[in-house]
Amino acid sequence: MKNKTFFTFVAPSLVMMLVFIAIPLVSVFIQSFYVTQGVYETVTIETCTPSFPTSICESTEKTVPVLDETNTPVTQTAFVGLDTYKALLEPEKVSELISNGQFFDIFNSIDFYKALRFTLMFTLITLPLVIGVGLLIALAVNTASKKVKGPIIFVSLLPFIITPVIGALSIKWLFIGEGLLTRALESITGQEISMFAQGWSIELLMMFYRVWHVAPFAFVIFYAGLQSVNQDTLESAIIDGASRFQRIRYVVVPHLMPLIYFIALIHLMDTYRVFEEIIGFSSEAHVISLQWLTFDFLEPDDTGNRSISRASASSMLTMVGIIILLVPVLSRTLRDQKKG
């Protein structure tokens, strides 16, 4: 009976997860091993296009898709195994670069590794910053007087409420060459500032934006955690002569540890899929992320081509990356739970 009640409650969400997560995932996984191609033929065609004062007509050899009797393009789907992954990871080029002693060129010249380098750095650098800043705000708000607490909490939550793309765009407009903040900084420093002219400054701006955007989330969780810190332990620590820092280090932080793991988990998952910053800051020339790479493969070009197979492969690889990042955090949480 107990089991039955449990399943009745869980069934709707299980079905949803199956339909909206599991099935698409399996289909993407399968797609990454197949390639669907159009069948083309080469014909000589005369085309006339408008101009002044008359049209330009030219006869050229063109490759056009073969149409079947119902007037739809003929396609064929073939199993290609790991070929698509190879096209993405370019193992031959990698080993060639390594044998030439140009190890760091891998992260410059092959899109996937270029994106991987930025994605990993971005994720791992913002992680401690988000946790640290979130904790600081929580501690500060916790000591504030009751009167101002409400407004302070509201204001510090604001960055989290803003839609990511809009937030990224507004930061871009503030810091672009003619932007308000750039103008202000220029007049203070007396130097010309172009934040969007080189890669490192864009990366800095992106990390700043991400921390500013996500820290409120960490703050809310930590603030909730702080309400349940054992006051007796804190008081006895004070009597024992522990400084404020020692109290935080040895009483508050251990108490918040499960929450820190929780935030790390969410942050790793979210940040590894960094995308809005790339679009918002139009940083494609300097930095790209794995999620952007998938998007770029899916985006049809002017003549309607999409690289569905490579997009599938790249999103599978992104998922593998997230899992690898999460394993240490998850196993640590599990161990702690068993202990507790």
Binding site: V35, Q37, G38, V39, Y40, T42, I45, E46, T47, C48, T49, P50, S51, F52, P53, T54, S55, I56, C57, E61, K62, T63, V64, P65, L67, N71, T72, P73, T75, Q76, T84, A87, N108, S109, D111, I176, G177, E178, S194, M195, F196, A197, Q198, G199, F281, S282, E284, A285, H286, D296, P300, D301, D302, T303, G304, N305, S307, S309, R310
Partner: protein, 402 residues
């Protein structure tokens, strides 16, 4: 954008119920149109709506939607407004209807250069052309005593002089945003050397012309705002409007904005000429684009006949007279203005049209991804062009072209 589309729709439907007078035919069947969303299409669809029973969708995501919409049976739209790029996939998928019979019957007022002919069949009726051409501040060039530059080398000289004379810090503007825009700049300049992008279906950009193109682009960026890699057409248009640059190669559709008193600080000062050449005896380093109407294949002949007549009502002289500034029209009754001079000079000097092929999109994407690596110094010119060819090859293999 959505709001705008919606308000246009409302405006259109109210228009259609009020005035039938301006339309020569009485339309009783429903006609649905889809097109991109900009001033010229607004003018044309409004003129069509005067015939009644017309509903128009002006959509900024037109490119991604139109293929599936026309593939439905019956097609979701009767008339679709296309440009060179969007025309190719529709044509290749067999979703468009040859218009020859209809043209013979109803197209007496069309100019012969409006017909887009593929394999001897008229597949689309063009209404306007668009092209990137040179826009320059005549007053500033006069100050440094120079004539209008006609080659990119002369543009470099002019830029240097303007900078030396301390008139403008960064005298040059360009649509160098990574991706589509930057690739377009490359293709313009590369074709200006008279070399082909393809040999059969193989990409052949890694050659002398390719390297010369990249080198010239890099030289030009020295005179641009250092953030040139995020400069899209709107950004460049604003630079011109605010007097922050003296010269730019920009789309003809942007020209009227420079004489818009509400936005521009340089009204009447910007002049238009043909795009600069890549080499002395070449053609302007640009490509010609067109926008026009097509009729869907998956509708009945009766519907097609009716839709075509209504569409032509949108492309008539009356519409052009009322919207003379909205585009460089190909339609009878269009009188060129000072601002259309650049586009016309481009055309007269035999600027090629942007190629209508299945593989141009692939190389355009590959260029958009890679050209910036050379400009930021991450790769040499030869390495960059090699990467372009490799990217093209893997995309072409995946799509079945190779």
């Amino acid at each position: 954008m959505k709001k705008l589309t919606l308000s246009t729709l409302i405006a259109l439907s109210s228009l259609s119920s009020v005035s039938y007078a301006a339309c020569a035919i009485e339309n009783t069947q429903e006609v649905k149109t889809i097109s991109a969303s900009f001033a010229a299409w607004k003018a044309v669809t409004q003129a069509m709506a005067e015939c009644g029973n017309v509903s128009s969708t002006l959509d900024s995501e037109f490119k991604t939607k139109v293929g599936a919409a026309l593939a439905a049976k019956p097609s979701l739209y009767h008339v679709s407004g296309v440009a060179n790029g969007t025309f190719v996939p529709l044509l290749n998928s067999g979703l468009l209807r040859p218009l020859d019979d209809l043209v013979v019957k109803y197209g007496k007022n069309l100019n012969p250069n409006q017909f887009i002919q593929v394999d001897g069949k008229t597949m689309a009726i063009a209404m306007m052309i668009n092209t990137q051409h040179f826009m320059y501040r005549k007053d500033i060039l006069d100050k440094v005593g120079l004539d209008t530059p006609t080659t990119w080398d002369e543009v470099l000289v002019a830029a240097e002089k303007i900078q030396q004379a301390d008139l403008i810090q960064y005298p040059l503007g360009g649509t160098y945003q990574t991706g589509w825009n930057l690739a377009m700049e490359f293709i313009n300049m590369y074709l200006g050397f008279g070399t082909d992008l393809f040999d059969g279906n193989q990409a052949t950009v890694n050659n002398e012309s390719g390297i010369k193109t990249l080198e010239m682009m890099k030289k030009l960026t020295a005179y641009m705002d250092p953030e040139y890699l995020i400069a899209d057409p709107t950004f460049v248009q604003k630079q011109l409007q605010q007097g922050n640059v003296a010269m730019a190669n920009l789309w003809a559709t942007r020209a009227t904005a420079l004489d818009n008193k509400e936005e521009s600080q340089v009204v009447g000062k910007v002049y238009m000429s043909a795009a600069p050449k890549s080499m002395e005896n070449g053609h302007p380093a640009s490509t010609m684009w067109w926008d026009g109407i097509t009729i869907a294949k998956n509708i009945t002949d009766e519907e097609a006949k009716n839709a075509f007549q209504v569409a032509l009502e949108g492309l008539d002289e009356e519409m052009v007279k009322e919207n003379a500034d909205a585009a460089i029209w190909l339609i009878k009754g269009y009188k060129p203005t000072r601002l259309s001079n650049g586009a016309i000079q481009n055309a007269i000097n035999k600027t090629p049209s942007y190629p209508l092929t299945a593989n141009i999109g692939l190389i355009h994407s590959a260029l958009g991804k890679n050209v910036s690596d050379y400009l930021t110094g991450q790769k040499t010119a030869a390495e960059t062009l090699q990467a372009v060819e490799e990217d093209y090859t893997s995309a072409a293999k995946e799509s079945g072209l190779l």
